[in-house]
């Protein structure tokens, strides 16, 4: 059943996809602040995992693709647990729909590698850092404020696939700018 759902997702993406000529036409660079808003087992040990995100997004053959990095500095609540720095490098896909001339909404998913570096010196060197798969979902809106600048507001949900899954919800706000993709870069991406 799940397999069929995937197929139903994949096939229409191709059938109703954009023309190849429109792919990679523009690039939007955005910087966002991420505020962690949920409270679960993870937060019994660590304070809210707030962070900062830098991403680049461009039109794909269907929807948009995104490449980005999120940086989190996470502080422990207790002395027994270490603080840690987390970097989530991800690729994402989203579908954006313009509602009005300056206003659009979008939703999509992110697949990433969630790298953690623990501030703890008394452990095996093999356990000092850790990498784990992460899956994120996002939905939000963009408001164009002129000169290709836009405000980006979104809600995020992220799962880090550790043995005990880490579920994190965020709201984010940020600013972005859209450029015409340089010819050399567009040729490279195609």
């Amino acid at each position: 059943m799940f397999y069929l759902i995937i197929l139903l997702l994949v096939i229409p993406m191709g059938l109703f996809g954009q023309e190849k000529s429109k792919a990679f036409k523009t690039i939007s660079i955005s910087a966002n602040y991420l505020q962690n808003i949920n409270d679960n087992m993870f937060h019994d040990y660590w304070k809210p995992a707030n962070g900062f995100e830098l991403s680049a997004e461009t039109e794909f053959y269907f929807g948009k693709v995104e490449l980005g990095a999120q940086l989190f500095s996470i502080n422990a609540k207790n002395i027994e647990q270490p603080d840690f720095l987390a970097v989530n490098m991800y690729i994402g896909w989203s579908w954006e729909q313009k509602l009005f001339s300056k206003f659009s909404i979008y939703s999509g998913f992110l697949l990433g590698n969630y790298y953690m570096n623990f501030d703890e010196n008394n452990i095996d060197v093999n356990l000092k850092t850790e990498s784990e798969f992460s899956l994120g979902l996002k939905a939000g809106l963009k408001y164009n404020i002129g000169k290709n600048l836009f405000i980006n507001i979104s809600g995020r949900y992220q799962i880090i696939y550790t043995y005990h899954r880490i579920h994190l919800s965020y709201i984010s706000i940020g600013l972005g700018k859209t450029f015409v993709t340089p010819k050399w870069l567009r040729e490279f991406l195609n």
């Binding site: 799940f2 397999y3 995937i6 197929l7 994949v10 096939i11 993406m13 191709g14 996809g17 190849k20 792919a23 087992m41 993870f42 040990y45 660590w46 053959y61 269907f62 996470i74 027994e80 647990q81 270490p82 840690f84 690729i91 697949l111 590698n113 953690m116 623990f118 703890e120 093999n126 356990l127 850790e130 990498s131 784990e132 798969f133 880090i160 696939y161 550790t162 043995y163 005990h164 880490i166 040729e187 490279f188 991406l189 195609n190």
Partner: protein
Amino acid sequence: MRKIVIIFFIILLCPQFSTAEYITQEDMQQAGLLRLSDIFLLIDDWDYSTLDGITYQASPLGLNSYQHQDWKIFLNNIPIDIDIFGAKALDRIPVDLSQISYVKIITQPRIYVGQKTTGGVIDIITKTIDSGFKTNFRTGFGNETGDPGPYYFTDKSSPNIDKLGNIVAGGISNFQDSLYIGISYKREIGYPTDQAMFYRNSDIAGDYYPRLKLEAVYLEQDRFFSDFYILNSFGVSDFEDFYYLRQYGREIPVKSRLLYFSSTGSIKRNFYQSIRYRFSYSANEPDYGNNSLNLDLNWKQETVRANIEADIGKGRKTGKIGIGLNHIAVSSDYLLSQRYNTEATVYSKLDFRFSKHLESFVDLILNFQKDKSGFFARYKTFFWFSKNKRLSFDVTYDKTLPEESNSIWYWQQQGYSFLENNGVSYNITGNLKSSNKFTAELTFGHFIPPNRHELEITAYFRSFSNIYCEGQYIISDQDYSAPNNLIVKTDCSGQIVGVALEEKINLSNRMRIKFFARYQQSLNNETLFEEAWSSIPKFRLSTTIYYTPVDGYSLSSRLRYNGVTKWVDYDNTDDITDDTHNVMEVDPFVSIDITAQKYFQNRKIRTSFSIRNLLNSKISYHPIGAQFDLSYFAQIEFLLN
């Protein structure tokens, strides 16, 4: 003209009229395969089992159980002997995945390039007819989910799961003025990713962190003349691994080296006929890997295979005749009563095209040793009862000498005493003798040209007699590491029946779908025979979709279902994770793998990202093997043409 000549020789080198499964370079890339052994993930009609995702035991459509690994491996149509007592780690073949043009999978007993192959074939064909200078470099890694992450520092801590490994590989080749030269290198590192395996391997590894390490170099030279073709190849691979010796009941650290040289050539007699030779030398040397139990396989096997073959006949009656020589020499510090074995072969493959509706093939090979002989015979016929519909019937019979097997039991009787020197008691009832296998297949095929739709339904029957069967009763142990008691019966008999359905659909140039389902059952068999086959699922199903929405970007997905398997040998083993007993059954599973691939810079850079076991099912092939959780793989390849 030169290209036509080259293609002509390539076709001549390929066995004709094969009903084989092909896994192309494009398939492998679209499916996000990282290493050579991943090919098993794409083979539809072979069952397989693996402990670690590196070394596989296979059962090609009921041709052998996991106890008899009779399937053979070829590189460019020339045998490459990588067996260590029946275990085959494909990664030891020195060729990297990126150097492969296609892999050919054969699932019927036959004479294949002069060799008797009664248990299926994997033939890896490298890229040799690409013109100009080419170089490539690729790197990739895999990671299994389920690490403790930050919870390691809490009361919610769990065992650490390590990387599945990483690979670095590259090659340089040039094809100019009828001369091709290519050299490639690959390096792989991997770690055990399962708790029980990690403990077991750490325990025997002593003071070092258990891991797999492989380095290999491959060199190939091809020369095309107007009426002559020659291919020489040389490869060496060094492999450090935890080799699972089934009869010992656990993994043993082994350092092994494979040295390989082969040469093949073809002289054209006329436009339709040629004479060709094939020669291969494999030196397979598992050796001592540092371990706390001081176990030492201490073994070197050198294999030389050579044959010369000529096309005969013309028009509606054509074929091949040939003679061959197979020589195996063994050296070990363990006492051996026989250090080498030599056999001569003579064979013929005949093709009779009676009409456009009816075609028959007759294969016969005789193999002679000092005072005994074996043989293999095959009859296959195709009947086209309409333009699109075909019925084929394939029947084979063979008598296999015990010396033809790489079985540890043959060498035990010759005095190789690894098991008894290391605390494993075994009892062989009777002497190993010639075994017999009879196979029959009836296949209905429906084809809509050009390659739009193919449907094949195959009913098959296999009958075995005088084969050896192992019974293994493992003593309860916390980490499945106890040497055990074995009985080996040398006159087992039994039958297997099954039905398989395979369908290929090309919806457009953009989408290909493959579907495969199989049901298999053993009949009225003796207990040991039945037990050996119960570790192969009765029902299996797979679907693969390759989808290329635009040039340079592709998606693929593969769904697999494996039925329940039973492992009687492990009936009394403790389960380390929850202290329950009786892990005789390995649960059925459904897995979904997906891959996205994108080319950049006019196909000069290739990237892919894969997720295997998307549903995070409990995937396990063997009671003491790893459980493969949701994993992700990424790779990047740079191509310069």
